[in-house]
Subunit: 102 residues, 2 copies
DNA sequence: CAAATTTACTTTATAATATAAAGTAGTTTG
DNA sequence: CAAACTACTTTATATTATAAAGTAAATTTG
């Protein structure tokens, strides 16, 4: 089951990040950390994966001499997010094919 | 005594930094930290003072996603460093005026 | 001149992210 | 089912920065 769902979004934290960004479009690392309640290390890793997939872009700068990381959702990210939920709907409203039970 | 000496160079750590930079011209934060044996916090503060005085320029970037701080000595810095030692010589070879002893 | 301030330097703690290592869990394989 | 692999999470440590606290030296004050 869940065979078709985008594995990159099938993760609590990554999905939370994407859900937030799909609305706000962009957010600072710290904000994402607070909103998702994740640890910095974990968030850093998951952000890197979303970036690698092209779902978000990441800008690293400095603010008041401290490192500042800003994340923005990309068109591909929005697309992937929407597809994810359409795929999900497929599970909620099953068609003629009955799902295989193992 | 020591009335004329540049107060910005009359500091163990700042002088050590300048002494190193006057030879190498530029150095990374970490290298300065090792060479001077200082703590990161202290070095950060003293670098800021040298920069404020225009004796060094500071570039902040990222290397392998980690913050990287590069310090470079400026012409004014070289000038100040040389003047400092000329002033010092004045104390080693006193002229006709005898120093005031308090 | 001794006490009280002030000033400056240093250390220590904490902030903002990143990577690496270690722990956990779920899944696949033999 | 035990062994191995995956993936996610937490924890420790890496880079620097600022703020707070400690120390010391110099200067003002009474």
């Amino acid at each position: 089951m869940f065979g078709e769902l985008d594995p990159l979004l099938l993760s609590q934290l990554r999905l939370a990040v994407m859900s937030y960004l799909v609305v706000t479009r962009e957010a600072e690392f710290n904000v994402l950390k607070e909103k998702t309640g994740s640890t910095a290390g974990n968030l850093s890793v998951q952000i890197a994966k979303l970036q690698e997939a092209g779902y978000i872009s990441v800008e690293k700068t400095f603010r008041n001499n401290y490192p500042l990381t800003i994340c923005r959702i990309t068109a591909a990210g929005v697309q992937a997010f929407e597809s994810f939920f359409e795929d999900l709907k497929g599970y909620l409203e099953p068609d003629e094919k009955s799902p295989e039970l193992d």
